[in-house]
Amino acid sequence: MRPLRRRRGWIGLALAGLMTATGCSADGPAEPERSTYKDGHLRVLASSELSDMEPVLKAARAATGVSVELTWSGTLDAAEQVASGNADGKYDAIWLSSNDYLRLRPEAAGKLSSETPVMSSPVALGVKPEALARLGWKPGEVTWPAVHEAVAAGRLTYGMTDPVRSNSGFSALVSVASGLSGAQAALSDADVKAATPRLKEFFAGQKLTSGSSGWLVSAYAKRGDVDALVNYESVLLSMNRDAKGAGAPLTVVRPRDGVVTAHYPLTLLTSAPAGARDAGRALTEYLRGPEAQKAITEQTFRRPVAAGVAPAAGLDAEKRRELPFPGSRSVADGLLASYENELRRPSRTVYVLDTSGSMSEEDRIGRLKSALTDLTGSGSSGTGQRFRDREEVTLLPFGSKVKKVRTHVVEPGNPGPALDAIRGDVKSLEPDGGTAVYGSLEAAYQHLGKGGADAFTSIVLMTDGENTEGVGAGHFDSFYAALPPAQKQTPVFAVLFGDSDRKELTHIAELTGGRLFDATGTGVPPAVAGGGSLAGAFEEIRGYQ
């Protein structure tokens, strides 16, 4: 995993971290967030899969003197930042897989200039060869209805990112909704409605979700029992290359009835200072040149947009229909809301919350309460801004032992009562006692073991100290090893907070296939996502639940 540097958190952050084209990010203390443009140093809000552009950006710096600082963001989150004006002054440019969603926001008009597509990659299906053989598929013949049929028959499972947080998931959602509704033109609300029963069957086969396409790849590799991966063609082909023979390469299937393609428009913000826009222009010019285009396609398997530059070997030349992205925000948001609250498998989420005595320090308990309350949203919360319909949320506060286990299920169409009850439980949290991390974690697994519903299960572990009570790490390791295989697939998303033990939490996240998030707000973590604040970490974890 690429080293990510921590930064201050903010609401709605999808995946935080900074990468500079010079690659210096793992040493030295975290710099305070830059608020002003520095000569020749472009601040760019970008899609996370662009981390593979580091070598190209390094060469761009050598050629143009322009360095790039990329801050990762999901598509919707970036749209929100640009449309709300929060990106003004903070970033000079945006570089997302697509600006289509952003342009549906009328407030974005006048904020963007020089949108220049740099490269392209369709969202495709990477299928294990044995699954392909089992299904008798010819890669060039597969259609979305055929994929649906295989999934509905229980013959195919797959991983996909959360459409609310990641463009590859969003594109896949548009593709499959188009494919299954039989829409001949841009999707309408009626198309989505008509396809809902089949879409539900389709998403029953989604066994892995993720807030970013990068983590999806590693989670997929760890799981081993998922047949396919929905991701950019470029990511799938890079996976095959990087596996270097370990594990059979995935066969890249671009469904014959159509794909949604990302064009990565490097886009200047009109709020950026003139110097930054000059730098952006120089960078764009370089990236569109033959040398960079050749490097891009050969190193990242994206397709060049310059005439005369041949696509890298392995990029199939057969044409595909480009499925239209919705033309109105109501259709786009309606599709996302359907996915979130109706189409996808529901979530079962356990929050294992350290409420030991030390949580009274520095108002940690107050920050925890506020971060949890944020997740219950408000009456007008948009998609992705509150616990989902059908979600089973369990709060498991602990001190020297588990204090309480409270579970609420968000009722579709009537989310208020469950959300109110969660808020009430959060309000009643009191700091007291020691820190029984492992015993409480075991209790969380036992709790999840009791439910049989088909759901994405996950555990969020937040602790501000090391384990002081109850069973230890060794006990938990044996406990985990003895879990039934299905339960082993429940990941623990561990949140560093206060004085928690990084090593302990890293071990738990790695053992369970989860991920470490940082909410300590100081220090320099290697390989940690999170955004620095507890609210930011909790929000970001939503993409993985």
Binding site: L104, T261, R321
Partner: protein, 364 residues
């Protein structure tokens, strides 16, 4: 949305009236001390201004030109005080830009123009031709028969319904031309100007009855596309990268530029709509610094030659363009033979059409 504007271009057809300001500047001596001027331009002119030869020719005249791109019809939304000139793709947005910048009587110049064309891959072009929607005129060029095409579009014709499409995986779904956003981009607006003319019985839409008559078709042509791109560079690059829609509206200059830069356009067929309105790129000086630049672009022989090499047709430059594109007549209809130029509706009418086309109440 106030950026939905209008368009009046009828004056600027081939051999049309020249609007050159008198070229008052003296030749600047060759010097390294150039003055920097910033401009906002339509994306289709980006390569022209990035061309090292153009940079050199401008420097020889004392200019360093820095450009940013924007949809022509969205330029008036920008912070224009940061720019010395605007160079939208037609004359109406130019007026809006001048008004937004608080200028009265800005000395506009129209150095060159470029007709709109539809690019397709040979398979799609052949299916259209076999079904009477287009006529091939050469290996890589043809004429799009707008009457027949719009009739098919009005009937929601799909590619699957057109015999011959089955051989091509990408030819499914409703037949449509991928345009840019008619509210913010010039080519999208001109597309409505041309198609509404055809839909109105080959008459410029001039009243509410005409709007009522043509709006449903305009709505179809636009809504079928879903998300609309801000500039022609996006769909054009999608085509080059091997993706994109089967039929894409671009400027002839984008294709001609590739050809004259000896870049392989790949499997491309250029279809000239038989009914069209031309786009006269209009230079608007916003500050004193850029006052003479437009005239320089229009009259300097070297810059005219370079504009041709980037695919543009200089005003009164038929001979120049024809000579330069001689080797590429397989793709280009140099004489615009068989192409009917039509007038455009008034600003107000076109604005109303664009709004109806985008579906009021549909976009928040």
């Amino acid at each position: 949305m106030r950026r939905i504007l209008g368009i009046v271009l009828g004056l600027l057809l081939i051999g049309g009236v020249l609007y050159l300001v008198a070229f008052q500047g003296q030749d600047h001596p060759e010097t390294t001390a150039t003055k920097t001027v910033r401009g906002v331009i339509g994306s289709e002119k980006s390569e022209f201004f990035r061309d090292p030869d153009v940079v050199k020719a401008l420097a020889a005249k004392g200019y360093t030109v820095k450009t940013e791109t924007s949809g022509s019809w969205a330029m008036d939304q920008l912070a224009l005080k940061e720019f010395d000139f605007a160079f939208p793709s037609s004359s109406e947005p130019a007026k809006e830009v001048a008004a937004a910048a608080g200028l009265k009587g800005a000395q506009e110049t129209r150095p060159f123009f470029s007709p709109l064309v539809v690019i397709a891959r040979p398979g799609a072009a052949k299916v259209l031709a076999d079904n009477g929607l287009a006529r091939m005129t050469g290996k890589n060029s043809g004429t799009l028969l707008m009457g027949a095409f719009l009739k098919a579009a009005g009937e929601d014709r799909t590619w699957q319904q057109l015999p011959g499409s089955a051989a091509h995986a990408e030819l499914t779904g409703t037949v449509f031309i991928k345009t840019t956003d008619p509210a913010s981009s010039n080519s999208g607006a001109l597309f409505l100007a041309a198609t509404s003319n055809v839909a109105n019985g080959n008459t410029v839409v001039a009243d509410d009855a005409g709007i009522a008559r043509t709006a449903p078709l305009m709505r179809k042509l636009i809504s079928v596309q879903g998300a609309l791109e801000p500039s022609t560079d996006d769909p054009f690059r999608a085509f080059i990268s091997g993706s994109g829609e089967p039929l894409i509206l671009v400027y002839e200059s984008q294709v001609a530029s590739l050809l004259m830069q000896h870049q392989d356009p790949g499997d491309m067929v250029v279809l000239y709509p038989d009914t069209t309105v031309n786009s006269a790129h209009t230079f608007v000086p916003l500050t004193e610094r850029a006052r003479e630049l437009g005239a320089l672009l229009a009259t300097d022989p070297k810059l005219r030659e370079l504009a041709v090499l980037r695919g543009f047709r200089p005003q009164e430059g038929v001979a120049e363009f024809t000579a330069a594109t001689m080797p590429h007549t397989a793709y280009l209809n140099t004489g615009l033979t068989g192409i009917r130029q039509v007038g455009t509706p008034t600003v107000k009418i076109l604005m109303a059409l664009a709004q109806r086309a985008k579906g009021q109440g549909d976009t928040p």
